[in-house]
Symmetry: C2
Subunit: 190 residues, 2 copies
């Protein structure tokens, strides 16, 4: 994700926002164009088709997530604190970037997702996976398939963020720590 042309970035961001508001299929290219302040044809200068636009949007969001989440780990932190930090900061990232969250949700259950390579598929969960590998090496996590565990953890994060954003239940700092504790207790050996 080098320096993106202004317009290309505008198109990606507009698509992200529109998908959040109108859903995946309630976002015609014409609307994207209008919101991005470009002509319909311009989109096709940067993207082959709507499909490619969406695939690239996935890569783009992955990039944003990784950028936001790296570097909030200090040395010598104990494993539980490390987990809490990762769980809560990712949850807060989704809450602060609801458009990314909504897009990912839609994307992950769409046929597009299946089309990405396994690797691409999982990169956006990588820092969770990384933690789980470490935890296993230390022998403090349950003996459960690591990929499965990372999917379960990630799903808990997404669910919590969604509940918060929907306003179904109001979550404060205390609740986030409680949730992280729940998930932590579900993956560690008791």
């Amino acid at each position: 994700m080098e320096i993106l042309a202004e317009k290309k970035k505008a198109i990606l961001e507009s698509t992200l926002k529109l998908i959040k508001e109108n859903g995946f299929h309630g976002t015609p290219m014409s609307l994207v164009a209008k919101k991005a302040g470009v002509a319909a044809g311009t989109i096709y200068h940067y993207f082959d088709s709507k499909d490619t636009l969406i695939m690239e949007l996935f890569a783009y969001t992955q990039h944003r997530i990784q950028e936001a989440l790296q570097g909030n780990l200090q040395e010598g932190m104990d494993l539980q604190e490390n987990f809490f930090l990762r769980w809560i900061s990712r949850c807060q990232f989704y809450i602060q970037n609801p458009d990314v969250l909504f897009f990912l949700e839609q994307f992950m259950i769409s046929p597009y997702y299946a089309r990405c390579s396994q690797v691409t598929n999982e990169r956006f969960r990588s820092e969770i996976m990384q933690f789980i590998e470490m935890g296993h090496r230390h022998g403090i996590l349950r003996d459960i398939d690591q990929k499965l565990m990372s999917i379960m953890v990630h799903s808990s994060i997404i669910t919590a963020a969604k509940v918060h954003l929907d306003g179904k239940v109001t979550l404060g700092d205390k609740e986030f720590r409680q949730l992280a504790q729940m998930i932590w207790d579900s993956i560690r050996k008791l």
Copy 2:
């Protein structure tokens, strides 16, 4: 959900299957008609619009879930066993009815879902909620909002079923019990 006219049921079932295969918006009414063995116009005899069809499909699946899940609880079962049974049997229901699972997933993140009343919204999670209320009354569950807890539990079930169906990780009996144990440890007081 009284005795449904043959055709009405055929339309609902066809829609369910098509949505699983082609996604929510890859299922035009024309395809539904063909698969159900009726003419396009016939659908509109039973449903006002595609929207209503989908809303009724939600009610229909709710009904199927409740029917399948009621009555697998025996008296005098201890709470943990009770939870395991509920968790695993719902997970297995989703695995045996992937079309229901896929539909629910799509439905829950669509604007349709927001349009249902809160009550309708939550009825299909009711037997989980019911368990959590009971657990709280017994004082064995963590002090966390019950609705939140039930959403987290349900999301874990859906995630596990999906992982299994996607073939990302193969889950056998042992794995289901391990997962149920994980979730159990995440909601009970330690």
